[in-house]
Amino acid sequence: MAHYLVNVDGREYEVEIEYRQEGYRLMINGESRSVQNHILGQTRRMMLIDGDAHEIDVRSHGYENRKTIFMHGKEIPVEIEDYNLAQLRKTAGMKSGKEVEKVLKAPMPGLVLEVKVAAGDRIAKGQPLIIIEAMKMENVIKAPADVVIKATPVGSGNSVEKGDPLLEFE
């Protein structure tokens, strides 16, 4: 049996799953659901939930707990963790994986035009950090939250690949 805590855009769901010879037994927030699950490939599922049909693509973004569920033409971000671990984490007063990453990575390959911050700067959420030119557009990368800059590993004029570290936060 598996027991998960799933967070969908602020809504919490406790999901219990058991696999038996005759099929899945699934409970969500204490209510039972009849589920059929067909695996159509590495990322695609066909699910029937109490008869409702859902074709699902599961996308990963390099984080173990965070996925995007693509269904009905919509992108739905979810965060999933083991239920007991989540309870322990909450008791310890820790935040889930939602805290800001310590390293800002290049979202696309491009040329760094301008680094607008220096180590030690305190930057409010939404303020411009760095400007990257890609596909002939200037893309302003803004602070994802209130942050303090720890280091600026790239300077203007440098080319970066997707995923290269651009800035480090405290």
Partner: protein, 508 residues
């Protein structure tokens, strides 16, 4: 004297190259593709009759090199070049070169492209042809204090635009005097990098305007037509993402006035071919000339869907020096068409381009659905070009039906391996203001200030939670396929089938 075209070289890539090749095939004209290194197996190459390599992947070393395109035309014996949009489509020098080489350039004359490509000259031409223009001024860029003075006269908010601009590049909105100097510098540097021309000018920035454009067709015999409007107000970073025809605010009377204005500037500039006259329309339906795009537009299919015409075939007929077969009174509009541009971009992350390999690619179909796609499964989406991978267009008896069909098509459209704008479109189409036609070019910025395009019902959230849990459960237990019941195939079999599929991209 008309001159039959037998073979067309398409100096472009992606969906527009495919679009033009389709028109060629429909007309029995041979098509020639050109391709850069990374495009060797691209879809436009696969569907063409002939294809020629034109060098390294960066467009400056391939698709933009005049000599290479002309060489390929010579080698293939093409008698005409269709430039598509972007790349060389609005390059007056290239159009002239084609003419000098005795190759038909499918587009306006070089001098018309040059005139209309310069926004300052275009504005002057519009004034001369009696079109209303937005208050604005030219500025001395080296003298910032003087420029600020000019800006005061025009009045804030101000839009700084590249003189050689297009596609939203080199454009900045400046709300007040304090922001002016920085905005000017940024716009000029972006203009320099995008167009090799750092000249900019300023215009009054209209609050919540609509972007409505008129499609024109002009032959070489003095006949001018307009094919009605396209509403292109849904924009991000000044680039269109959803277009439709007719505009929800259009009346026959306004269409008549805007259409006449469009035809007037076409006459004024000796226009030949298909073109688009763009207008800004204020909340009280006053319209102002913006610019003329001297080429086929990305969003031309919505006009095709409501008029029943094939604009590429019309372009070719005009290039063959045939007179237009239709008169203005023959143009009738039927139903409503909507286009959603499918970009390889991450809307949640400020629409940054997303590159990678299409692990899975399934197109929607069914009544009223048209997909102009430039890619196929397992294509790599390169970083070198515009990230638009396809245009999804639907037609309906009315706006509601067209939108419902679009929602259906977006639901069927599946792309894996890349982020796309599919989910973004689905959220916008659900928006009540959008459904009511209450839109402007500020719509996305106003409705989704944090780029938060994840909106969905409670029920869908619960289903997503179940999906995530089942996904984790089966992955952790390496369960290949369990559907319940006793008829499940052997797990050895499904595991190996799954492994086999992985070699071919994983999903079906």
């Amino acid at each position: 004297m008309s001159q039959k075209i037998n073979k067309i070289l398409i100096a472009n890539r992606g969906e527009i190259a495919v679009r033009v090749i389709r028109a060629c095939r429909d007309l029995g004209i041979k098509s020639v593709a050109v391709f850069s290194e990374c495009d060797a197996t691209a879809y436009h190459v696969r569907v063409a009759d002939e294809a020629y390599p034109i060098g390294p992947s960066p467009s400056k070393e391939s698709y933009l090199v005049h000599d290479k395109i002309i060489d390929a035309a010579r080698k293939s014996g093409a008698d005409a070049i269709h430039p598509g949009y972007g790349f060389l489509s609005e390059n007056a020098e290239f159009a002239q070169r084609c003419q000098d080489e005795g190759i038909i350039f499918i587009g306006p004359k070089s001098k018309t492209i040059a005139l209309l490509g310069d926004k300052l000259q275009a504005r002057a031409a519009a004034l001369e042809a009696g079109l209303p223009v937005v208050p604005g001024a030219t500025i001395e860029q080296d003298n910032v204090d003087k420029a600020i003075e000019e800006a005061e006269k025009v009045g804030y908010p101000i839009l700084i635009k590249a003189a050689a601009g297009g596609g939203g590049k080199g454009m900045r909105v400046v709300e007040n005097r304090d922001q002016f100097a920085e905005g000017l510098q940024r716009a000029a540097s972006e203009a320099q990098s995008a167009f090799g021309d750092g000249r900019v000018f300023i215009e009054r920035f209209l609050k919540r305007p609509r972007h409505i454009e008129i499609q024109i067709l002009c032959d070489q015999h003095g006949n001018y037509l307009h094919l009605g409007e396209r509403e292109c107000s849904i924009q991000r970073r000044h680039q269109k993402v959803i277009e439709e025809s007719p505009s929800p605010v259009m009346t026959p009377e306004l269409r008549e006035r805007m259409g006449t204005a469009a035809v007037n500037i076409a006459r004024q500039t000796d226009y030949i071919g298909a073109g688009t006259v763009e207008f800004m329309v204020s909340q009280d339906l006053e319209f102002f000339f913006l610019e003329v795009n001297t080429r086929l537009q990305v969003e031309h299919p919505v006009t095709e869907m409501v008029t029943g015409l094939d604009l590429v075939q019309e372009q070719i007929a005009i290039a063959e020096n045939r007179p237009l077969s239709l008169k203005q009174e023959d143009i009738a509009f039927s139903g409503h068409a909507v286009e959603c541009r499918i970009y390889a971009e991450d809307p949640q992350n400020g629409f940054v381009p997303s590159t990678g390999t299409l692990r899975n690619y399934r197109l929607p179909a069914g009544p009223g659905v048209r997909v102009d796609s430039g890619v196929v499964i397992f294509n790599d989406i390169p970083i070198f070009y515009d990230p638009m991978i396809a245009k999804l267009v639907t037609w309906g008896e009315d706006r509601d039906q067209a939108i419902r069909r679009m929602q259906r098509a977006l639901r069927e459209y599946r792309v894996s391996g890349l982020e796309t704008t599919i989910g973004f479109h689905q959220v916008v189409l659900d928006n009540e203001k959008f459904r009511a036609g209450d839109i402007s070019t500020s719509f996305l910025a106003e409705e989704y200030p944090d780029n938060n395009y994840s909106q969905f019902s409670e029920r869908l959230a619960e289903s997503a939670a179940i999906a995530a849990a089942l996904d984790k459960f089966t992955n952790e237990r390496k369960i290949a396929d369990i559907n319940g019941g006793t008829n499940s195939p052997s797990k050895w079999k499904v595991t190996h089938r799954k492994a086999g599929l992985r070699n071919y991209g994983g999903t079906f």
